[in-house]
């Protein structure tokens, strides 16, 4: 966990806390998330029982737009999009179908999309946002935290956004002052929720 600026596991049982810091390390490494996290504080109290994970993410890559992965050529009513990175093809097609209708979107091969649209419609085509990586990263992050948490903690609350995320979980109903506890854990890292 050298890449992470702040990493702490807080637990009343010393041995258990050490095991969990290893578990967190391995899981985040396996899910390729170490680079994403800047600070992480995990609190486990098996007596309550309660699991709280709070953290800050690094600056995430921005939204991918059409011009980032393809070229757009206009020739009268024929607009040809040549795809460079196939990974974004599926979300792009979905957006185009919705916008222009399937009958005007033609795909002769894997790397080409042909549109039958006028100038006014093709304006700003390059700027269409196709994919937001931060959303999937947050989903992965919450999934990884669910893997780290002790199993059987079925009552959960999670939050992400604005560079911050947290997951609280327990076997029983969550305590009413859970938000205050989360805020307290953020302040331990020198941050605010």
């Amino acid at each position: 966990m050298e890449a992470v600026e702040y990493f702490e596991v807080e637990c009343p049982e010393k041995a258990g806390g050490e095991y969990y810091s290893r578990i967190a390390d391995v899981v985040l490494l396996d899910h390729n998330l170490i680079r994403v996290i800047q600070k992480l504080h995990i609190f486990i109290d098996p007596r309550v029982p309660l699991f709280i994970a709070t953290g800050i993410t690094r600056k995430l890559p921005g939204t991918v737009k059409v011009r980032d992965f393809s070229d757009v050529n206009r020739k009268e009513r024929k607009v040809t999009i040549s795809i460079g990175d196939e990974a974004y093809l599926a979300p792009l097609l979905r957006i185009l179908w919705e916008k222009f209708g399937k009958e005007r979107v033609e795909q002769p091969d894997r790397f080409t999309i042909m549109l039958d649209i006028g100038d006014d419609e093709s304006e700003g085509l390059e700027e269409i946002p196709v994919f937001d990586p931060s959303e999937s990263i947050y989903k992965d992050l919450i999934y990884a935290l669910q893997v780290i948490q002790p199993e059987g903690f079925k009552v959960r609350r999670q939050y992400y956004g604005n560079g911050r995320f947290y997951l609280v979980a327990s076997e029983d109903t969550l305590p009413e002052d859970i938000e205050d506890m989360v805020r307290e854990k953020f302040s331990l890292m020198g941050e605010r929720l």
């Binding site: 049982e13 041995a15 258990g16 095991y19 098996p46 029982p49 059987g152 076997e171």
Partner: protein, 312 residues
Amino acid sequence: MILVPVTYKGGIYRHDEIIDLIEDLGGYIIQKHIIAQEVVLQALVPKEDIDLIRKVGKPLTGEITPSPLVGTEIAVVTMSLEIHHLPHASCDVAEYIRRFGAKTNMVGLARGFGKRIAQLNDEERDVINEHDLAVYLLGDFETCIEQKFPVLRRGIDVPIVLCGGPPVEALRAIIDPPVDGYVGGVGRFMHRTKEAEEISRLDDVVAEVTRVLDRKREEMAKDPLSISPARLMDIISEKIDDIHEVLSPTPITVQMTGLRVKLPYDAYASRLRATVVDEGVTIGDLAEVLPSRMRDYILVRIKPFSETNMMV
């Protein structure tokens, strides 16, 4: 004649000679694996003939090693089959015990996770009780183990070896009444055991299992079984032809006090009971033939000498 559990590893070429030799000496082949060009035999052989087998096997690049767990069936009880416990921890332990000759079955509890909500249902209880020993793999926290273990052991009457994250002394202190064996430092972990220190902890599990089973063997020696399970296995595979059609790796699984025969109970139980072992003695006289909770298999429990007054 004392039979010792061993594993023989050697080339596939002329391995049938070794099998014939073991059988001629009065030993039993419990399991035979063929892996590419190699044969692995798990067998019970007479103690005084080990050197002879070693000598015969030497030109065939055969190696013979003691395997204390051959002829036992062990349940590895894991709290769930979720990603939290699989594949590491559960599979690593189950696989490692298997290397010492035991047949391990993994029992993943339906509701074993959690502290307050952990449960053990009747089917799981009965399946665990069909084994010679149960290895319980619990988590990293003392508080949780202390609270949930009494629920998970309810109704289990086979010896239990408890593995958990806290050190052995801590485990001993929180479990009441005590179980038969404890191994510390084997709790929940998410990585493969490949470092020397981690492997040595798996060795501890095997050592503890062996110790507990040795004690069980000693106790059984005071009132021995009416027939040895390995011999009964031989008789069944000789007299009931349909067992050779079964595709499981071990159609007949040898346990310390009996056998698991992987044939449907309804169709074969009465035939099995009537099978003649020796002049005038049938399997029904020497053993109970029961339906197993595992699929529709048959469980054969051999009665001790004190019940049957017969020794075959």
